[in-house]
Amino acid sequence: MDILPILSTLRRHKLTSWLLILEIALTCAIVCNAVFLIGQRLQRMDMPSGVAEHELLQIQVADVMPPSNPYTRLAEDLAVLRQVPGVLSVASSNQVPFGSSSSNGNIMLDPTQRERTLNAGTYFGENLAQTLGTRLVSGRDLQPDDFVDVDTAMKALGTGDSKGLPHVTLITRTLAERLWPGQNPLGRIIYLAPEVGLRVVGVLDSLARANAYDAAKAQYTMVVPLRMGANKDQSYLIRTRPEDRASVMAAALAALKKADPQRVVTTQRSFDEVRRKFFQDDRAMAGMLVGVIAALLIVTALGIVGLASFWVAQRRRTIGVRRALGATRRNILNYFQTENFLLATIGIALGMVLAYGINLFLMLHYELPRLPAVYFPVGAIVLWLIGQVAVLGPALRAAAVPPVVATRSV
């Protein structure tokens, strides 16, 4: 196929050609970045929680009358829940992974340190690691005699009495690796306050924090042996079989209501719902981006159809002359296809530069990573295909121009 005659024709239609090229370039740049953003969101939505997601239920209740002893009340509630048929394990917790409402502590490696080393999600509650289903990779789980009542700990902190304070903790593998890279974390001590030193007795495979907004710090979590009372913002976590979740939830709520008919259930959800709610913005954004990409590609395709039709109509006589001089229908078809391919190629080349520029802007303002190079060829192929599909109709119409047109009205 001869490219030179096409180029010389395009040179006569500079303005329209450039418009098409710019449209393709902009579309290419935006589609590349939008696809990349979708990928980022999907990757975020896949963030591991480290818990047995399809087997967990969360219930939060608020008591109308404050219980006389919140600790016995909590123990009673847990006992009631343990009796519910289908329940495999029960725990109390101050937060759940991806639950949004979080409790965090500043970790120091040295009690005299002025600045915190990092901020980590601090889980507390009984029987937590086992119920959540997070795997212990080394060391031991928390034992009942490790536990201290929250109020006792608070009082101990006030009086400086170290006896009432917790002394051990479980941390995640990611946190251990961040604090002591390449070393055995077991037996080491972290400080939540100069007086509160916790010895690492076990390492958890994975446990996401409740406010896992930053993927890099999502696994910075620890479990502290503090026992909560039923007067805090505590959650009851129930582990059950996936297929029993609905029935167990109903039975658990009934059992809790029976224990105290006056109480208000403030939260009742499965962990699947927790995850869905936490990532709902990401899902909505990804959906919107898909819509934008589709609309953009359609608009660009329509633009190509419009301009190509115009060119075909304008060159009707030229086409007739070429046909009369011996050009086949295929030649004419190829001519318009090649023309479109050339325009699309220039547009894509420009679009790549623009895509890179937009990515730099996004990196600056939205803390996004660099656009991986793989997006460029994919974007190019998509736009080439769209261009070819869009031009096919007008090009076929051009190929159908009969040679006799050449003899008319010259």
């Binding site: 449209e23 608020a62 902190l157 208000v264 913005d281 954004m285 609309a295 608009v299």
Partner: protein, 440 residues
């Protein structure tokens, strides 16, 4: 003349329906997308107290005693600093605010107890923020001092508990305390819910929560501390609180202070007052970083917290890029259309039409396309806003098309299409009539 051009444009548009439809659709889709996001932006970045936001300020001090200086003071204040500054009454009006959750029941109303959001504040809150009342009114400074057991409730709560009837004088039970309702608000939903805004810079752009509804019940600050003791959550603590029930003396920040300052001179003197207070507290040994104080304006504070969710900003960028592509599309199609009519334009020029007349005629045609595109864009905008409303986000119920945005839709559509029409119209008006006539 204009009427004639419109007639010409209309005929021309009808001659090639497919091309016209393509252009109108392109403009409509572009306008629909950008107006949807622009409307959301407009609602989220608006002024929550349009009558007097310029006079509202947010003082901050740094009570953190750790020796290393932080760059910014905490987003809210510790109880003592807030109370001291409030007690000084150096501003035209001042209100302490903090929000907490508690159990609420209405005796004589047969509804299960509900967990309600309570705003603890002081009497100036209502006049200062122009809070509209449906029944009754706010409490007085005397009530603040006497720790009166009174409450103002939101219109939503009044509808839920009392079916919208005048409930002034009735009793609510907050946790275990009875309070008397003295005021019922008219529907009030500032966007964002500015007086609770704090911590935006830690939220990673996920700030939709700032657009939730105001609290259900408003109670005098000191009364609420007694009623909901233990129910207050600190914003953050610089060391472990010894007593989690009474936050008044804890090393925690949890109270915000808003002040109204009616003149620039007062702003200057209040700024000095806050700085002097910090210096004095340093002398008393309570503060370490006395120079770390701030007095931001309401809008400045909202900007600092980046209240507009980053997703919304990203969507707006995207929508305008989209509109740009639609415009390129329209320019190309208009060019095709006008150049195709070269013969007709040649005849008009030969018969005496000036270049300006041809240019004007082409622009009128472009404008007409813009008008049609605007109408389509309006429908798409309404559809887009309906989509936004169906999302599970806090500000979903706020989203609607107001008159400004309705008019802006058409203005944007016509401006965009005129812009797109300039180049093709120029090209069309520059054509040499003789050349075109020869080929006829």
């Amino acid at each position: 003349m204009f009427g004639y051009y419109i007639d010409l444009a209309w005929r021309s548009l009808r001659r090639n329906k497919v091309l016209t439809a393509l252009m109108v659709i392109a403009i409509a889709v572009g306008i629909g997308a950008s107006m949807t996001t622009l409307t959301v932006m407009h609602l989220l970045s608006g002024d929550p107290v349009p009558t007097r936001s310029g006079t509202l300020f947010y003082p901050q001090v740094d009570p953190d005693p750790s020796p290393t200086a932080s760059h910014q003071p905490y987003d809210v204040m510790d109880y003592r600093s807030a109370l001291d500054l409030w007690n000084a009454h150096r501003a035209d009006r001042q209100a302490m605010v903090t929000s907490s959750q508690l159990r609420l029941t209405a005796p004589q109303v047969n509804l299960p107890p509900l967990m309600a959001q309570m705003l603890s504040t002081t009497s100036d809150f209502f006049p200062m923020f122009d809070v509209p009342f449906r029944y009754g009114g706010g409490w007085t400074a005397q009530d603040d001092e006497n720790r009166a057991r009174v409450a103002v409730i939101s219109s939503d709560l009044n509808n839920k508990l009392f079916n919208g009837a005048d409930s002034v004088g009735r009793t609510l039970r907050l946790k275990d305390a009875d309070v008397r309702i003295i005021g019922v608000l008219a529907p009030w939903w500032p966007s964002p819910q500015f007086y609770d805004v704090a911590g935006g810079r830690f939220s990673n752009g996920d700030t939709a929560g700032f657009y939730s509804r105001p609290e259900d019940v408003f109670v005098p600050f000191q009364s609420s501390l007694e009623i909901n003791a233990g129910g207050f959550q600190p914003f953050t603590c610089w060391s472990m609180p010894g007593d989690p029930v009474h936050l008044q003396n804890s090393p925690c920040v949890w109270v915000a202070l808003w002040v109204q300052l009616d003149s620039a001179a007062k702003v200057g003197s209040y700024r000095r007052f806050v700085a002097d207070y910090a210096t004095q507290q340093k002398a008393l040994g309570r503060f370490v970083h006395a120079d770390n104080t701030q007095l931001r304006s309401l809008m400045g504070w909202l900007d600092f917290n980046q209240v507009v969710p980053s997703d919304v900003r990203l969507q707006t960028w995207l929508a305008f890029a989209f509109l740009l592509i639609c415009l390129f599309n329209t320019v190309g199609l208009l060019l095709a259309k006008f150049l195709r009519r070269a013969g007709e334009i040649g005849v008009r020029r030969a018969l005496g039409a000036s270049r300006a007349a041809v240019f004007a005629q082409c622009l009128v045609e472009a404008g007409l396309i813009g008008l049609l595109g605007g109408a389509g864009g309006l429908l798409l905008t309404l559809f887009g806003l309906w989509l936004v409303r169906s999302q599970p986000i806090e500000y979903a119920d706020l989203v609607h098309l107001d008159t400004t945005m309705f008019l802006a839709t058409f203005a944007l559509a016509i401006a965009a299409s005129l812009l797109a029409g300039v180049l093709p119209a120029l090209r069309a008006s520059r054509m040499t009539p003789s050349l075109q006539l020869k080929t006829l």
